[in-house]
């Protein structure tokens, strides 16, 4: 073990280096750019012995990585925001052909309005595409989760790709002190890539991704569903092994100070760190609140969530994506579905869009609203919690009548 000062992007690169990826194909996009740049540097100076294939778009980047994996090597790519949106078509190819790529996704809002900054809307758009999705709270988690993801995805019971989601700038560009496992320990933990599903061999040819009739399409989707069902068992198994090596516990979801709490907030990503800080602060003032951090959003740990949220009558869910046109955002919908039949008041909050910081003040405001509802002082909550009052009058132009 050695401590290093790394930002989120460097931690993702460090994990790919430790996993000894053999083919890299990444297209730079803010805030992911430093991942593709660092990987290129490491290939150039021989630190990573891999083929770096330069491409003209994210669509090609994931196509190259997916097909490289289909000839039996460990391949890597990474993206963000509109890059992920451009990958969309290939995202389905990767999971449908059961290619276990681990892809860091540096969360950034999707245009329009153009933004460079953090929001989960990009990854949420891909949530039903058959990829696993892990949301990280801090830089250490980016490193740990990426390493663990290789084990989970490449296990014969799973064989699915995963997105390791890290909040743009809040994690990708935030320098933290990171405990990096040794190469030897990771060689033993992850090991060389062994294809366990269909792959191409010129001496034993096979055609992958052929046209599938209605007679078999459902069954192939069902195979993916069964693989998703296996994820939690596989996750627990490797998380234990990883804890033995590194001493760090990686969880599917984490309950923070919820045992005696009056109300809890459920959230994803870097804002969970702020939320934990607010919990500590409010508890010091005698207000009993807690946080539930969800790491694995896909597959969604509905059983564990239901168990963890059972004692609570008032629950807040924070979505860092707008979930336009839905009754609530994606996280709220999942939580509500998981809590079906239980008598809980589940309140939905939207905020932190397009890089707006989810501050202590915002989270405290949420907790106060939840506590007021819980104690019967109030009935309503503010769904768009950090929206400015002048939202509808941002621009004014003169027009001829």
């Amino acid at each position: 073990m050695a401590y290093k000062m790394l930002d989120g992007n460097s931690a993702a690169v460090e994990a790919m280096k430790l996993a000894k990826v053999q083919v890299i194909s990444a297209y730079p996009i803010t805030p992911q750019s430093s991942i593709s740049e660092k990987l290129a540097d490491l290939v150039a100076d021989g630190t990573i012995k891999a083929e770096y294939i330069r491409v003209e778009s994210e669509h090609s980047a994931l196509s190259v990585a997916t097909t490289a994996c289909l000839v039996g090597v460990r391949a890597a790519t990474a993206t963000a925001s509109n890059g992920l949106a451009l990958m969309h078509e290939v995202v389905g190819m990767t999971s449908g052909n059961r290619v276990p790529i681990v892809m860091p996704v540096v969360n950034r809002g999707i245009a329009a309005p153009w933004t460079l900054w953090c929001e989960h809307g990009d990854a949420m758009s891909e949530r039903d595409m058959g990829w696993l999705q892990f949301y990280c709270q801090n830089v250490q988690e980016v490193l740990d989760m990426t390493l663990l993801a290789y084990k989970i995805c490449e296990d014969y019971r799973v064989q699915l790709p995963s997105m390791v989601c890290l909040d743009g700038f809040f994690l990708s560009h935030s320098m933290q002190k990171i405990d990096v496992p040794t190469q030897a320990s990771m060689d033993q933990f992850i090991g060389p890539y062994i294809p366990k599903n269909a792959f191409l061999d010129t001496s034993d040819p096979m055609f992958i991704c052929d046209l599938t009739s209605p007679d078999e399409y459902t069954e192939m989707r069902y195979q993916q569903k069964k693989a998703m069902d296996n994820v939690f068992e596989v996750f627990e198994e490797y998380a234990k092994a990883y804890e033995v090596i590194t001493g760090r516990k990686i969880q599917i979801m984490e309950s923070y100070k919820t045992e005696d709490a009056d109300t809890v907030l459920v959230a994803l990503g870097s804002m969970c760190g702020t939320a934990k800080h607010v919990v500590n602060k409010m508890r010091a003032e005698g207000r009993k609140v807690g946080v539930i951090k969800i790491v694995t959003f896909r597959p969604f740990p509905f059983e564990a969530i239901r168990e963890a949220l059972k004692p609570f009558k008032v629950i807040g869910v924070f979505d860092r994506s707008a979930g336009l046109g839905g009754q609530g955002g994606p996280l709220w919908s999942e939580i509500t579905a998981a809590m079906n039949g239980l008598n809980a008041d589940i309140r939905h909050f939207v905020g932190g869009l397009g890089g707006r910081d989810v501050t202590e003040t915002t989270i405290e405001k949420i907790f106060n609203e939840l506590l007021d509802i819980q104690s019967g002082k109030s009935l309503n909550h503010t769904q768009w919690i950090d929206t400015k009052e002048n939202a509808m009058t941002l621009r004014e132009v003169t027009v001829k009548c």
């Binding site: 052909n97 059961r98 064989q159 599903n197 269909a198 992958i208 195979q223």
Partner: protein, 101 residues
């Protein structure tokens, strides 16, 4: 001539693989699409082989030593009629499927 691969290529132990893939290469009878078939009148045929070289599906074989020198593989001939147009002696005709034996 297109031929169906004779044997399955995998010969070691069998495992289940997931997702869409094919390792048995079965060619379907594309000749069944045909509406009209080329029929050769061997009286005028000079065995030049032009029909063979123009056939886009590579289904014509010339046997110079035989009287009925033009062999057409009707399993794969789609009846495009290119051989009919190219024959310098006009000895190939398209006839509607089902109208001849």
């Amino acid at each position: 001539m297109q031929k169906q691969q004779e044997q399955q290529t995998r010969n070691c132990k069998k495992i289940n693989v997931y997702g869409p893939c094919a390792n048995e290469f079965v060619s379907s009878n594309t000749g069944s699409w045909r509406l009209e078939r080329p029929v050769v009148n061997f009286e005028n045929c000079i065995k030049c082989g032009i029909c063979e070289s123009f056939c886009p599906c590579n289904v014509i074989t010339i046997h110079k030593e035989l009287k009925e020198s033009v062999e057409i593989d009707y399993d794969y001939c789609k009846g495009c009629g290119i051989c009919v147009n190219e024959c310098p002696k006009n000895c190939i005709k398209l006839v509607a499927e089902g109208s001849v034996e």
